[in-house]
């Protein structure tokens, strides 16, 4: 634990704010996102919630500089994003580890280029310890489970000491138990490092558990491209449990807005389940 606190605590991660103004992204004739305005304060955890294919990953990619907006401005820490942004680090839905490198070698991809070769391995191990993978530094991606691979991907992102951590449905492909553990881990890492987190998800409970604010992305009722349908503050301090009663109302509200209305609050619903 002492080591963990020292790594993230002394990491020098400076949380960065994100600002989106009038962002539009079109692929040819097809407009995916339009009129996106969003202000994220440094250190905030924001969930981008929406149905699959609504363009939430596209929005995340715009912030990370993996994609360029057709119109509007995307700013991180007050500066326009142009190309891959060094203040951001992405964790994708798949681990996307390089199969020919060890786990430590994969984490090293996130380390600064000017770091001496001798320090890279040690640094890689330190960040692996951060995601509770001590002792797996020399393993190959193929030798570890999906959850461990995804934790390695998280360590790789953290090694970049990002002002903004961009998580693109990073738990979607994991089994239910592993997903819960990963969510706890991300919550823990965020709290200790203070980094800003932008989390793309289609899971209402995940958003309720991890986020300070939920940005609901959806097409307007009269059709057209995706925009910000609602921005909702999540009550209560983190870490929280999505079964907390004060979240029940918000949960049914979000589900209704996503087009799957529930008749009752979650606890009652669970009781009358077949």
């Amino acid at each position: 634990m002492v080591i963990r606190t020292s790594v993230v605590g002394s990491a020098g991660i400076a949380p960065a704010g994100v600002s989106l103004r009038g962002v539009r992204r079109a692929f040819g004739e097809h407009v995916v996102l339009q009129g996106i305005d969003l202000e994220i304060s440094p250190g905030e955890v924001v969930a981008l919630l929406g149905a699959s294919g609504c363009g939430k990953s596209t929005l995340l990619r715009l912030v990370g500089g993996l994609d360029t907006a057709t119109a509007g401005t995307v700013r991180v820490d007050g500066h326009d994003v142009a190309g891959i942004d060094p203040r951001c680090a992405v964790v994708f839905q798949e681990p996307r580890l390089l199969p020919w490198r060890t786990l430590a070698g994969n984490v090293a991809l996130g380390l600064p280029r000017d770091l001496p070769r001798a320090d890279r391995d040690a640094e890689g191990r330190r960040w692996l310890a951060e995601v509770e993978l001590d002792g797996f530094a020399r393993h190959r991606p193929r030798q570890v489970s999906g959850g461990m691979a995804q934790r390695t991907a998280l360590a790789r992102a953290l090694a970049r000491r990002p002002g903004v951590l961009l998580l693109d449905e990073p738990f979607a492909a994991l089994d239910a138990l592993t997903r819960l553990r990963m969510q706890d881990l991300v919550e823990d890492v965020q709290r200790r490092s203070g980094t800003t987190v932008l989390l793309v998800t289609h899971d209402v409970d995940e958003a309720l558990k991890l986020a300070d604010r939920i940005v609901l992305l959806a097409a307007p009722p009269d059709g057209g491209p995706t925009g910000v349908a609602a921005v909702l503050d999540v009550p209560g301090d983190r870490p929280r449990d999505h079964h907390q009663p004060e979240l029940a109302e918000l949960r049914s509200d979000l589900l209704a807005r996503l087009g799957v209305p529930r008749r009752a609050a979650p606890r009652e619903r669970e009781n009358d389940a077949p």
């Binding site: 891959i84 680090a89 994708f92 996307r96 390089l98 199969p99 020919w100 193929r142």
Partner: protein, 260 residues
């Protein structure tokens, strides 16, 4: 993962060697039987032993080494040049859509030219020395390497390439750290095909215009009615080709050790 494979390596390895040798031994026996029953005259099919004698004779007067050495030299130089150029052009075509649009159709058309069609032109341009032979081997090695490298790089795992970009790699470092390692298995299969085709084109070159080498040994022995030497040359080509492939295979295994 690796320990069980290590523990049982000698078992299957030995069995594989026995299985691989079974057919050649059987063929050798059939050859001996056919030759000794007189079904074919010894001018058509000399017995294995006289081929061995021819080997001893050529090895004894030193000409065998000259033939083998010059053929090997042509293949090595030609393969190095051809595969190097194939790799470079394949990488350009694989990485750049513009270069691909400009170059790929012409290269594909050149590729369709049968190997022997080049010979008269090469002799005319480069004379009858080593130049045309090495060039022909290089042409043979070029195409398999070019094709596999360009195709593999054009289809390098887009997910991994995106990770490389997302973590700040660009241009040469993206190529060296992500793209080339991810296509290394395909590159090696291209190199092995290129080496095999290099031997193929070597014989084509030596059959036509040369005074030394294994291909020359083939035509020369045909003209002088020495079927034993002819068979010996074929066997030597098989052995050398296989030996080169095994060597390259060892390099491949070492480089790709971490890929599995």
């Amino acid at each position: 993962m690796t320990s069980p494979a290590k523990a049982t390596r000698s078992g299957p390895g030995l069995r594989a060697a026995v299985a691989a040798l079974a057919l050649p031994v059987l063929l050798l026996a059939a050859w001996q039987v056919l030759a000794s029953t007189g079904a074919y005259s010894s001018a058509q099919l000399p017995p294995p032993l006289s081929v061995l004698e021819a080997l001893g004779q050529l090895a004894g007067d030193g000409t065998l080494w000259q033939h083998v050495a010059i053929s090997l030299q042509r293949v090595v130089i030609g393969f190095a040049a051809g595969s190097g150029l194939g790799f470079a052009l394949g990488a350009l075509v694989g990485l750049s859509a513009a270069v691909r649009a400009l170059v790929a159709p012409s290269v594909a058309a050149l590729r369709a030219v049968p190997s022997l069609a080049w010979v008269p032109l090469l002799v005319l341009w480069l004379g009858i020395g080593e130049g045309p032979k090495i060039t022909l081997v290089a042409i043979g090695s070029f195409f398999p390497v070019y094709t596999t490298v360009s195709a593999a790089l054009a289809h390098a795992d887009p997910h991994l390439v995106e990770v490389g970009r997302a973590y700040g790699l660009r241009g040469g470092s993206l190529l060296g750290r992500i793209m080339l390692p991810s296509v290394a298995p395909a590159v090696f299969s291209g190199l092995r095909l290129g080496l095999a085709q290099g031997w193929l084109f070597l014989v084509a070159a030596e059959l036509i215009a040369s005074s030394m080498g294994l291909g020359f040994l083939l035509t020369d022995s045909q003209n002088t009615g020495r079927t034993d030497i002819l068979l010996l040359a074929i066997l030597l080509l098989a052995a050398l080709g296989k030996a080169c492939d095994v060597l390259l295979g060892l390099v491949e295994r070492r480089v790709l050790r971490t890929h599995t």
